[in-house]
Amino acid sequence: MISVENLSKRYGRHQAVDDVSFRCEPGTVTGFLGPNGAGKSTTLRMICGLTPPTTGRATAAGRPYRDLENPGREIGVLLDASAQHAGRTGREALGVAAHTMGLGRREVAARLELVGLDSAAAKRRVRAYSLGMRQRLGLALALLGDPRVLILDEPANGLDPEGIFWMRGLLRDFADRGGTVLLSSHLLREVEAVADRLVVIGGGRVVAQGDKTELLAGNGTLVRARDAEALRHALETAGLAARDTADGLLVPAETGTVGQAAADAGVALTELRPAGGGLEQLFLTLTAESTKEAGK
């Protein structure tokens, strides 16, 4: 479990993180979303005791991170896959961590196998690793101590599509077995596939949080028919308000209700789908703003 309470971080005049609060419960994957520079990494570092917060507090596995006796055995952390000594072999990088945590070679071998780094890859120095291999090594490191909580910063970066698919399965399975996962990304689509809950951050503030389906749904149904007039009439008859949009008619009702109304009137539909939620629009706005800021 992770609990973040009113966490803020200020660098000089720049407010990097501003009064952020959220909780991650066991058995769930929480997607921590925001454009680049929104304060995701700073928040994750504060949870892990690597960056001192200006105000607020965070606990992981029930206690402030710095008070954990042997954090690697309770919380698996991957904040930056490139933060490995280039001159160490992959196996040795895990070996050093295992030694620190009081684990043996068996755990190292098991995690290397789990993340798909074969013995040839494990013997190579990290300098020669691709970003995707470094991510796999970082995941192996995070999973090494058999933790109950995972904190991962942009773990899909550099993974190929097959790797991303594999990682989703791994995280889903981890959460289904009662683990807690907090996973950051700047891509909505990437976390949408695996997260149960979303926390969206922009300009250092939480702008939305809650259940993924709730956040993504919400805004009704988009419907289209070849005979638009007949459709409009059918909806009116069913007592459903409809509004014209570039994508078709927007109806503030479930897809099922709209489809039934069309069927009752015998109108053939060409399209029927949930309208993109408010979240998607919100996220696009946030990303556009941060791009503008970066361009200044």
Binding site: G62, P71, L79, Q84, M101
Partner: protein, 264 residues
């Protein structure tokens, strides 16, 4: 090794996991020793330190006068190059965490950073003791060979000189670690470590007003008597004062800096 089964049930405030204990300082020291040698840079530095000792003794066997080929004369000169290289190892042990960004992993696994710093200090002290043992072993080999090839081959080594040699090497390496901790940057720490005392010696020699102070603060001067077998109380006093400035202050300030620094 302990095996634990994860209590996966969800509850509000999970108790610390059974069987999860804080890694001991002994374990952390072993980890830091391992990290001194498990990278190419570290391993080669250790090999070069060993080779240098051997080369110095070999050169003396070839070129020193027979009467001077004694155990002490093999041992003492072999300390000097090692005394320059070991601190580089100490500096790397501290600064590589930041330049290679492994601090992100190290301090996530051991959030009490002072324990990591303590373990690093212990590890370089162990490495230093090992280097003195190697110097002794190589000097012994040199003395044996000298005995056969017509050198003096005398075996005397005063206990005081041995102690002084240990202090000499430990001071060198701890000064390096202090600069590493304070500057947290590999090239800056190495250059400062090598240059600053020399610059200070030159300035202290040139400016008359500083000459008195230099006698107490210039480690080049205060450490010199360590390579002989007798030291007076005043010489120990001067050594102590200079070490306060060049070892204790950098270590203390560096520790504070390391504890406060943001790891990114």
């Amino acid at each position: 090794m302990t095996t634990t089964t994860a209590p996966h049930a969800s509850h509000v405030a999970p108790a610390p996991r059974a069987g999860v204990r804080r890694p001991s300082l002994l374990r952390l020291t072993a980890v830091e020793l391992r990290k001194l040698a498990d990278t190419r840079a570290g391993l080669w530095l250790l090999i070069i330190i060993g080779l240098t000792t051997a080369v110095i003794v070999t050169l003396q066997l070839g070129y020193a006068e027979d009467a001077e080929q004694t155990f002490v004369n093999f041992f003492v000169p072999s300390l000097l190059p090692v005394g320059v290289l070991l601190p580089v190892l100490g500096i790397l042990s501290i600064t590589a965490e930041w330049s290679q960004r492994t601090a992100l992993v190290t301090y996530a696994l051991v959030p009490r950073r002072e324990r990591v710093v303590g373990a690093k200090l212990a590890a370089v002290v162990v490495a230093t003791l090992a280097s003195v043992v190697i110097s002794l072993a190589v000097a012994a080999a040199g003395t044996l060979v000298a005995g056969v090839t017509g050198g003096a081959g005398r075996w005397e080594l005063g206990g005081a000189l041995l102690l002084h040699s240990l202090v000499f090497q430990l001071v060198n390496v701890l000064m390096g670690v202090g600069f590493g901790l304070l500057l947290l940057n590999t090239p800056l720490a190495i250059v400062t470590y090598l240059l600053l005392p020399t610059v200070w010696s030159i300035v202290g020699g040139l400016v008359p007003a500083l000459q008195r102070a230099a006698g107490w603060l210039d480690t080049g001067r205060t450490m010199e008597p360590l390579l002989s077998d007798s030291m007076t109380g005043e010489q120990w006093g001067r050594l102590g004062v200079s070490l306060l400035l060049w070892v204790v202050v950098p270590l203390a300030l560096g520790l504070v800096r390391t504890l406060r620094r943001e790891v990114a």
